[in-house]
């Protein structure tokens, strides 16, 4: 089965581990993702803070490029998902905005009359691959591993068409399908700080640290996210502050596709583990897995 893939900028840079693990997992599932040709930045929350027509036009160009294929556009990034979804909504409403965006698209030789379906990868895994589909592909059950499901904000706010916005469950479902145990914690939909990790380190860092403290209290072995910026920020704040407990290890922050891939028995190299920011994280997961294997073997 073939789908159209919108990577978003992070997948080609800071989040290469997310993309590599995604493709490793897809090949095991016999699913083909074809990258949208000549895609551009979705505009995210940044461009809309500078120029709204430009922001919607950037998103709309991708929707216009995808339209002739008739395929749904799947993105692993919640911020891309939100920008593209919002553009679809605004362009279908009245007012002058759709006209202005249409004029800008026309200047580039493009038209868009709606119709491109945009889906986020997590929802795709839950509803299209299916939890049973993931379970059937699992070769090495991750029994005994306690995994914190961290959603962040834009995956569930302001829209949550595929999950409960206040108590989402899709990550938990995927974690359970791998044989691991979801660790319950309070702030699973709190914001990691977003770009403030760069522009206001005091504020952004504080927000990420608060989430990590809560996760540690919940006794999780590692964290999974379905957002490239959440994944980066929770690693970055630990790297910068060297903030893991004295003598202890950093808390590993994995992309959800890396967790699925581990359960499928895919090698850590293929899953992009060497691209993670935190040194030693790989070691701590291998250690935990060895403990698990010994426990099972013994």
């Amino acid at each position: 089965m073939k789908y159209l893939y919108y990577p978003g900028c992070s997948q080609k840079g800071t989040s290469r581990s997310y993309e590599e693990s995604l493709f490793a997992v897809l090949s095991k599932l016999d699913i083909e993702f074809e990258e949208l040709d000549d895609w551009n930045c979705c505009g995210t929350t940044t461009v809309i803070s500078v120029n709204k027509v430009l922001s919607l036009t950037l998103a709309a160009r991708n929707l216009a490029l995808a339209r002739p294929t008739g395929l749904p556009l799947i993105t692993p990034c919640p911020s891309c998902w939100l920008s593209l979804t919002k553009a679809n909504m605004v362009l279908s409403e009245g007012g002058t905005l759709p006209e202005k965006v249409a004029a800008a698209l026309a200047a580039g030789g493009l038209t868009y009359d709606g119709g491109t379906v945009v889906r986020h990868l997590l929802e795709f895994f839950v509803n299209e691959v299916g939890i049973r589909g993931i379970e059937e592909s699992v070769k090495a059950h991750l029994t005994g591993l306690r995994v914190a499901p961290y959603y962040g904000c834009q995956l569930v706010r302001p829209y949550a068409p595929y999950d409960d916005g206040y108590d989402p469950q899709n990550l938990e479902k995927v974690i359970e399908a791998t044989g691991a145990e979801p660790a319950a914690f309070e702030v699973k939909t709190a914001c990691c700080g977003g770009t403030m990790m760069t522009t206001r380190r005091d504020v952004g860092g504080g927000m990420s640290m608060k989430i990590l403290r809560n996760i540690r209290e919940a006794g999780a072995d590692l964290v999974v996210t379905a957002c490239p910026l959440c994944q980066l920020n929770l690693e970055l704040v630990q790297y910068r502050e060297n903030s893991w407990p004295r003598g202890g290890d950093a808390l590993p922050i994995l992309n959800i596709t890396q967790l699925i891939g581990l359960a499928m028995g895919i090698s850590r190299k293929e899953l992009g583990f060497s691209r993670l920011l935190l040194p030693g994280v790989e070691r701590s997961i291998i250690g935990k897995q060895q403990q698990m294997a010994e426990a099972v073997g013994g």
Binding site: A106, C153, G165
Partner: protein, 190 residues
């Protein structure tokens, strides 16, 4: 007398009118001042003006104070306020509008350089079609935080060594068409 002044302020309140005229701003007049936005906002404790106060200031016609406030620039776009507002005001969208207005009217405050980060990000996307993290961080840090650049370079080098920080920017295939589209979009002020 004070009440009279407030009524007059509301009558000549062009910022309020401007927000109410936005597609996302129509419900701004329904604000109850209940403070749910401030209670759910993760950065509110660090703000001089909480979101609730911003809406009171808009209502009171404190145009310059609102547009010079750090609050919109500290908004992380987490949408907590938006989904919890009992008056269904699209608060996050209004924060975007306040940021755009502050940039347009050159009222951005020097206390914060978040607007410079946003403008650099937008410039890079306009030029290459995608963001180029290395260029963004180098330009932003050199401009504002030359000392921070040194401490940041360790993280940057680590990310280059893992292949997660591209050296060369991406090139679009249809650059000319993209340029014409961006040029046209920038002619609209909204």
């Amino acid at each position: 007398m004070e009440r009279q002044a407030l009524v007059e302020a509301e009558q000549q309140n062009d910022l309020l009118e401007q927000i109410a005229a936005l597609p996302e701003g129509e419900r701004v007049l329904s604000c109850l001042q209940c403070g749910t936005c401030s209670a759910t906002c993760p950065v509110a404790p660090m703000l001089e003006h909480s979101p609730r106060q911003i809406f009171a200031m808009v209502r009171a016609g404190m145009r310059t104070e609102v547009l010079r406030s750090l609050t919109p620039w500290m908004c992380s776009s987490c949408y907590e306020c938006t989904v919890n507002c009992p008056a269904q005001i699209k608060i996050t969208e209004i924060m975007y509008a306040l940021k755009r207005t502050a940039i347009r009217e050159r009222l951005t405050t020097d206390e914060s350089d978040v607007h410079r980060f946003y403008k650099l990000f937008t410039q890079i996307v306009c030029k290459f079609g995608r963001i180029h993290e290395l260029l963004l961080l180098l330009k932003y840090m050199m401009l504002r935080h030359p000392v921070g650049l040194l401490s940041q370079s360790l993280v940057g080098l680590r990310m280059m060594s893992t292949g997660c920080m591209r050296i060369q920017p991406h090139k679009l295939r249809n650059q000319e068409s993209f340029d014409r589209m961006v040029e046209k979009a920038l002619t609209f002020e909204e």
